[in-house]
């Protein structure tokens, strides 16, 4: 399967939990699918139909920090001229929006690096010449594309996964990681209506392979911790990734809506 593979890096990034708006903005450890959707659309230059669009990634960072961020908390104005004196100034203009500056704690990730896989592969030209500034996270979190290639993912009976996002259903197979509820897709045609989905954030490497007879002979205790699939399962793997225990790196291709 042909996909675009985009290697990118940046200095900082931050992925807000959408329902924690005030006081602290914690960050997810990895970009939510809705963020990736926005990223792809920014390269293309328009809101794309999410149907048929697929992505996978590996994402790492070098640490988490926190910062005080000024939020201009805005609210509807009166619509009339602002009569009251503020520091000796009277504004004659009608006030439609007014605001106050508030400090919030914002968590951020340092030195993010991502290898993003996107299908269909004919989007490659947009990543070679993105329409809008390349950011990941906040608008100030600039990213640099280091390499854009079209690669052929291969099907393999074994694969390893690491530093990636898996569908929650895979939790019973990898038996590792942290479950998070993430924005999966934000529908701009319906007033930015959000859809959420559960995912597993998997940091450490997990090898998935079919059960081998050799393992069945082992005591329960000596068996590797991963419960392998009973039935054969084919993985998409990146043929250019380093080999580990006879496996290449798996690329889990997520959809945004289906």
């Amino acid at each position: 399967m042909q996909v675009v593979r985009v290697e990118m890096e940046g200095l900082t990034t931050s992925f807000r939990y959408p329902h924690f708006m005030w006081g602290r903005h914690p960050t997810f450890e990895m970009p939510p699918p809705a963020t990736i959707y926005g990223h792809i659309c920014s390269a293309v230059g328009e809101w794309m139909d999410p149907i048929g669009l697929r992505f996978g990634y590996t994402f790492t960072h070098e640490g988490k920090g926190e910062d005080l961020e000024h939020v201009h908390a805005i609210s509807p104005g009166t619509g009339g001229p602002l009569r009251q004196r503020k520091r000796g100034v009277v504004f004659a203009e009608p006030v439609n929006i007014q605001g106050n500056v508030n400090p919030l704690t914002r968590e951020f990730l340092f030195r993010p690096r991502m290898t993003l896989y996107v299908s269909p592969a004919d989007l490659a030209e947009y990543f070679r010449s993105p329409r809008y500034p390349t950011v990941l996270g906040r608008s100030q979190d600039l990213m640099s594309y280091r390499r854009v290639e079209v690669v052929d993912l291969e099907r393999a009976p074994r694969a390893y996964y690491e530093h990636t996002l898996l569908p929650w259903e895979m939790q019973v197979r990898v038996r590792r990681g942290v479950t998070v509820l993430m924005p999966r897709y934000v529908d701009y045609s319906r007033g930015r209506e959000p859809a959420f989905e559960r995912y597993v954030i998997l940091q450490n490497r997990v090898v998935l392979r079919p059960v081998e007879e050799r393992q069945e002979d082992l005591d329960e205790e000596e068996r590797p911790v991963i419960r392998y699939e009973d039935e054969a399962m084919l993985h998409w793997v990146d043929p250019d990734s380093p080999e580990y225990k006879g496996a290449k790196r798996g690329v889990w291709l997520h959809g945004f809506t289906e």
Partner: protein, 463 residues
């Protein structure tokens, strides 16, 4: 009517209501159950001890505003607590939690951590407020019933396994009922040390539920305050591999030793129980796998830990191998390596075999010096020198070398799958197996261990 939505506030609220009604799933709740819990909330949220607790969850809400006029308060309750009875709807918008038709837009006084009334930021189309339905809103109003107070904040436990969310909320709800039934209590009791409270709950749930499960869920703690300018949320994850480790460690096979290791990790105070004291082992779990080498050294090899001045009551400073030989368990350590550190079975076996060979060697030759040196070494070159020297001596005596080249590489150098593994950790692991074997054979480890003044490895000292 009610269901789990996978959002922590709604789910913990649904779980608390389920516990309140004595049912086993939110789907089983009847309209009457909802009316009863809403009535309970109306009666208890406006007076202590809950009222003082709620100012940090729903500040500026009707529950905690003494100045609110009765008719305004009634309207508040009708809209935000009894909203599930109304036909109200926000045209065309769906509840962000469950997808049903939304009935009202809510702000920070109704749902913690949202923005204050009228603020446009973070909402689409310049329309302030989060659209929610009456049922989810009832759950959110009820979530403090399934929460506890910790260090002045609200603490809830949420999991992708609904049973875990239910059981944690039920435990906290039963505590809350006890407080409400105490006549002389005005202040909601505060449980210190959220991490300790968290792991204590997980272990309680482990005993009667998790241990029977095929695989372990991931469990999350939310520790929040919605109060004034200090609003803040802390999120702590126990990944499924740590939950799995805790379940196995407290199962029958390891229960006795593990229980004792846990017992000796309690803060040294008069009343050492969760909520009053911290358990250092519980809290150190959150630094895994990053600080696994230190964890092994302190809890499995029983190495004294030079406590920082902050914690005078840190029990770990009193750990001493010579006195705690019966707590040194290779099997428990190996399980930790497998579950938490993801060490390959082949490598664990190689370490165990080397520990066996070294302990036989010491048994046979009574080479106390070898044991002492191996224990004390703190430079990699010394380790290699020591092993080469002892191997040569064996070969000169017509026996096979103590350690082969490939084995040495496998155990002390091969860190491909886990760069965290350093040679000190490998040494500590070999030691754990050696000590267990020598102790079983009745060898006097006390004579073999070095003098007190040296802290082997030096790793344990907190910088």
């Amino acid at each position: 009517m009610l269901k789990f939505t996978r959002h922590p506030f709604v789910d913990v609220g649904a779980a608390a209501i389920t516990a309140f009604a004595g049912k086993s799933r939110p789907e089983d709740l009847s309209r009457q159950d909802l009316d009863e819990v809403a009535d309970f909330i109306e009666r208890h949220y406006t007076r202590d001890p809950l009222k003082s607790f709620l100012t940090a969850i729903f500040p500026n809400s009707g529950y905690v505003q003494p100045a609110m006029k009765p008719e305004k308060f009634a309207a508040f309750l009708n809209r935000y607590l009894y909203g599930y009875r109304n036909e109200e709807s926000v045209s065309g918008l769906r509840c962000v939690y469950c997808g049903r038709e939304a009935s009202v837009r809510v702000f920070r006084q109704h749902v913690p951590m949202l923005t204050g009334e009228g603020i446009l930021n973070f909402f689409p189309r310049s329309a302030p407020g989060l659209p929610v339905c009456g049922f989810c809103l009832l759950c959110i109003q009820a979530f403090p019933l399934g929460a506890t107070k910790s260090s002045g904040r609200t603490l809830i436990i949420h999991s992708d396994d609904e049973q875990v969310t239910l059981r944690a909320a039920k435990n906290f709800f039963q505590d809350n009922l006890k407080y409400l039934n105490m006549r002389d209590i005005t202040k909601y009791p505060d449980q210190k040390y959220p991490r300790t409270v968290f792991v204590d709950q997980v272990l309680r749930i482990s005993e009667d539920y998790l241990q029977g499960q095929e695989h372990s869920p991931s469990i999350t703690l939310y520790h929040l305050t919605n109060y004034g300018t200090t609003a803040d949320v802390g999120i702590l994850y126990l990944p499924s591999q740590i939950v799995e480790f805790l379940s196995i460690a407290s199962s029958a096979k390891f229960g006795r030793i593990w229980g004792e290791i846990v017992r000796r990790a309690w803060q040294k105070v008069d009343d050492a129980r969760p909520g009053v004291a911290r358990n250092f082992l519980y809290e150190d779990l959150f630094e895994l796998p990053e600080r696994a080498a230190r964890f092994v050294q302190i809890y499995f090899l029983r190495q004294g830990f030079r406590a920082s001045a902050r914690f005078k009551d840190d029990p770990r400073s009193g750990y001493a191998l010579e006195r705690e030989l019966n707590l040194v368990s290779w099997d428990l350590t190996a399980m930790f390596l497998r579950e938490v550190m993801e060490m390959e079975a082949e490598r664990i076996k190689a370490i165990r075999d080397l520990g066996d060979r070294f302990s036989s060697y010491i048994s046979k030759t009574n080479d106390r010096r070898f044991f002492r040196d191996f224990y004390r070494i703190d430079k990699y070159g010394q380790l290699r020198g020591l092993l080469i020297k002892a191997s040569n001596a064996e070969v000169r005596s017509g026996r096979s070398p103590l350690i082969g080249f490939d084995e040495f590489i496998t155990i002390f150098e091969e860190g491909e799958e886990l760069p965290r593994i350093d040679w000190r950790l490998a040494r500590d692991l070999v030691l754990i197996r050696m000590i267990e074997r020598l102790h079983q054979e009745g060898k006097m480890i006390e004579e073999l261990t070095p003098e007190e003044e040296e802290v082997p490895g030096g790793e344990a000292a907190e910088g």
